[in-house]
C-alpha cells in the first residue's frame, strides 16, 4: 500500500496514524509539498487531478480523500467503524466535522507556519467554534463515563478529528480552555501503537514522583 505523503500534513498524518494503529505497513512516498509545490505539478495531477495530498494506492484502488482511506484501513482490519445504526451514523457525522476542522484550525496552522494567504482572524474564529462544539460533546461523554467521540472505544471519528485539534496551537489557537478535549487527546495518545508527528508528541513515560526531602 503506497501513501503519497507530506510529513507536516495533518491529513496525511491521519492515514499514517490509522495504519499504525491497525498494524498496516505503508510505503511512504514523500511529495515535496513545500517549498516545491510538487502536488500541483502536472505529473502529480495525473495521479490526483485535485492536486491534493494524501493519495493512497493499493493495487487498482486509488483514494484521494483521507476519510475514505480511514474507512478502507479500518474495514480491512475490522472494528473502528462504530457498531449499530446510531454509532455508524454518528461516525459519519464526525467525519464531516473533521473537514470543518481542516478548513478552520488547519488553515490557521498553514497560515502561521507556511505563509498561506487566508483571513486568519476568520479561520481562528471558526476553529474556536469547532473546539467549543467538540468540548461540549466530550464533556457530555465524560459525564456518561465514556472518553471517545462515539460509543465505548476509539473509532475512525477520533482519528479523523484528532490531528487538526492537537495541532491547533501551531495556528495560534490555544487548547488551555478545553479540559475534556485535552483528556480525549491523551486517551488517543495512549492507544497501543500510537505514532507521533511534528507538533504532536508521544506520551513520555510517567516518571515516579521525586522523593520528599
Amino acid at each position: 500500500m503506497i501513501l503519497y505523503d507530506y510529513v507536516l500534513s495533518a491529513s496525511c498524518y491521519k492515514v499514517r496514524l490509522m495504519a499504525a494503529l491497525v498494524g498496516e505497513r505503508l510505503d511512504l512516498q514523500a511529495v515535496d509539498f513545500h517549498p516545491g509545490r510538487e502536488h500541483k505539478s502536472a505529473s502529480f495531477r495525473d495521479l490526483n487531478p485535485a492536486g491534493t495530498l494524501p493519495v493512497l494506492v493499493d493495487g487498482d484502488l486509488l483514494l484521494t480523500e483521507s476519510t475514505a482511506m480511514l474507512v478502507y484501513l479500518a474495514t480491512k482490519a475490522g472494528g473502528w467503524m462504530g457498531s449499530g445504526a446510531v454509532n455508524a451514523a454518528q461516525v459519519q457525522g464526525w467525519l464531516a466535522f473533521s473537514a470543518r476542522l481542516g478548513a478552520s484550525l488547519g488553515m490557521a496552522r498553514l497560515h502561521d507556519m507556511l505563509h498561506y494567504p487566508v483571513d486568519i482572524a476568520a479561520v481562528r474564529r471558526a476553529g474556536v467554534d469547532c473546539l467549543r462544539e467538540l468540548e461540549s460533546h466530550l464533556t457530555e461523554a465524560r459525564f456518561a463515563g465514556r472518553i471517545f467521540l462515539v460509543g465505548d472505544g476509539p473509532t475512525i471519528a477520533d482519528i479523523a478529528c484528532f490531528p487538526n485539534v492537537a495541532l491547533a496551537p501551531d495556528g495560534g489557537v490555544a487548547l488551555d480552555d478545553y479540559p475534556s478535549i485535552r483528556l480525549w487527546m491523551r486517551a488517543i495518545r495512549s492507544l497501543e501503537r500510537f505514532i507521533e508527528m511534528p507538533g504532536i508528541h508521544r506520551l513520555h513515560e510517567l516518571k515516579p514522583a521525586p522523593e520528599a526531602v
Binding site: V7, L8, A30, D32, M113, P169, P198, H201
Partner: protein, 280 residues
C-alpha cells in the same frame, strides 16, 4: 531605535529560486517592509528608503538595511564537489530570531523533542565539549560535540555516535557540521538562516549541503522539516519572549556552553535585536 550594528549585518530574506518578476514578494526585515523581485539587473530588494545591499549565496537572498560591516560569511563546503545543496523552504515561528538560533545550538533537548531520531533516553548526557569565540573570523564555534543518535540523518542506518561542530557566523544564522553517515571523514553541513521579521517573529530558512546521492530530494527536505517542526511548538512557548543577555534570569549548565558564548558574543557586538538586556 535599532542599533547601527544590527542594521549593518546581513540577514536572509528569501529563497533565491523563488524570487520572481515585479511586483515580487513583500516581506519584512527588522520591522521594515521590504520587497524582493528579479529584473534585468538580477535580484533586488527594496525597502522604505530604496534599494538595499544584496548578496545571493547558499540558495538564499541576503540583505542589509544599513551599510554592510563586512562581506557575508563564507561556507566553503557550498562549492565542494559532490555535495547536494538542498533549499528546505520556510517556516514561520512566533519567537525571537535569536531564540531560534539558540535552539539550533542546543543538543540536550534531542532525546526529548526529537525522540528516536536525534536522541533517545537513556542516552541523555551531553559530554564536555569545547567552545570559543574565534577572534580571527569573529565567529562562535563549538567543537568536539558527541551525541548518540538513533537516526542521525535520512541516510543513517541505525544508531551512531554523531560528532558535531557548531558555528555562529552571523547574528541570526548558524551552520552545523555533523558526521556524514554516507562518507567517512566528511561532514554534512546544515544551516539555519533566520530572517528577523520583528523582535518576536521570524521566518526560518533551513539549508543543507550533503553527501547523499541516493535519497530523493523530497525525503531530504521532509526529514529536515520534520526535525524543525518538532522544535517549533517549544520555541513558541519559551519565556521570556526575548533572549536574556544579562545573566541572572536563567541558570546555564555545562551543556549550555555554546549558548553562553553566543549570548556573550551578541552582547559584546551590540546585536541586541530580539534580546533583553535587563533581567525581567
Amino acid at each position: 531605535m535599532i542599533p547601527q550594528a544590527v542594521l549593518d549585518e546581513w540577514y536572509p530574506v528569501g529563497m533565491a529560486a523563488q524570487v520572481g518578476p515585479p511586483p515580487g514578494r513583500e516581506t519584512m526585515l527588522l520591522g521594515q517592509p521590504i520587497t524582493l523581485f528579479r529584473d534585468s539587473a538580477g535580484i533586488r530588494v527594496t525597502g522604505p528608503d530604496g534599494d538595499l545591499a544584496v548578496t545571493v549565496a547558499y540558495g538564499h537572498v541576503w540583505a542589509c538595511l544599513g551599510t554592510p560591516a563586512h562581506a557575508l560569511f563564507p561556507i566553503p563546503e557550498a562549492t565542494q564537489e559532490g555535495r547536494r545543496l538542498v533549499d528546505c523552504g520556510v517556516v514561520r515561528v512566533k519567537c525571537s530570531p535569536l531564540r531560534a538560533v539558540e535552539n539550533f545550538l542546543d543538543i540536550a533537548h534531542f532525546p526529548f523533542v526529537h525522540t528516536d531520531i536525534l536522541g533517545a533516553e537513556p542516552h541523555t548526557e551531553v559530554a564536555r565539549y569545547e567552545v570559543q569565540i574565534r577572534e580571527d573570523s569573529d565567529e562562535v564555534w563549538a567543537t568536539k560535540v558527541h551525541f548518540y543518535q538513533p537516526q542521525a540523518a535520512k541516510s543513517a542506518e541505525g544508531g551512531i555516535v554523531t560528532e558535531y561542530m557548531y558555528r555562529v557566523p552571523a547574528p541570526t544564522a548558524s551552520v552545523l557540521y555533523k558526521t556524514c553517515p554516507a562518507r567517512a571523514g566528511e561532514w554534512d553541513v546544515i544551516g539555519i538562516f533566520v530572517q528577523p521579521l520583528t523582535e518576536e517573529l521570524c521566518d526560518v530558512w533551513p539549508w543543507m549541503a550533503l553527501f547523499d546521492d541516493e535519497t530523493p530530494m523530497a525525503d531530504l527536505i521532509q526529514f529536515q522539516q520534520m526535525i524543525f517542526l518538532q522544535d517549533r511548538s517549544i520555541l513558541e512557548n519559551q519565556i521570556p519572549r526575548l533572549l536574556p543577555l544579562d545573566p541572572g534570569m536563567e541558570i546555564p549548565t555545562q551543556a549550555d556552553l555554546t549558548s553562553v558564548a553566543y549570548r556573550r558574543w551578541l552582547k559584546r557586538k551590540g546585536l541586541t535585536y530580539g534580546a533583553q538586556m535587563v533581567a525581567a
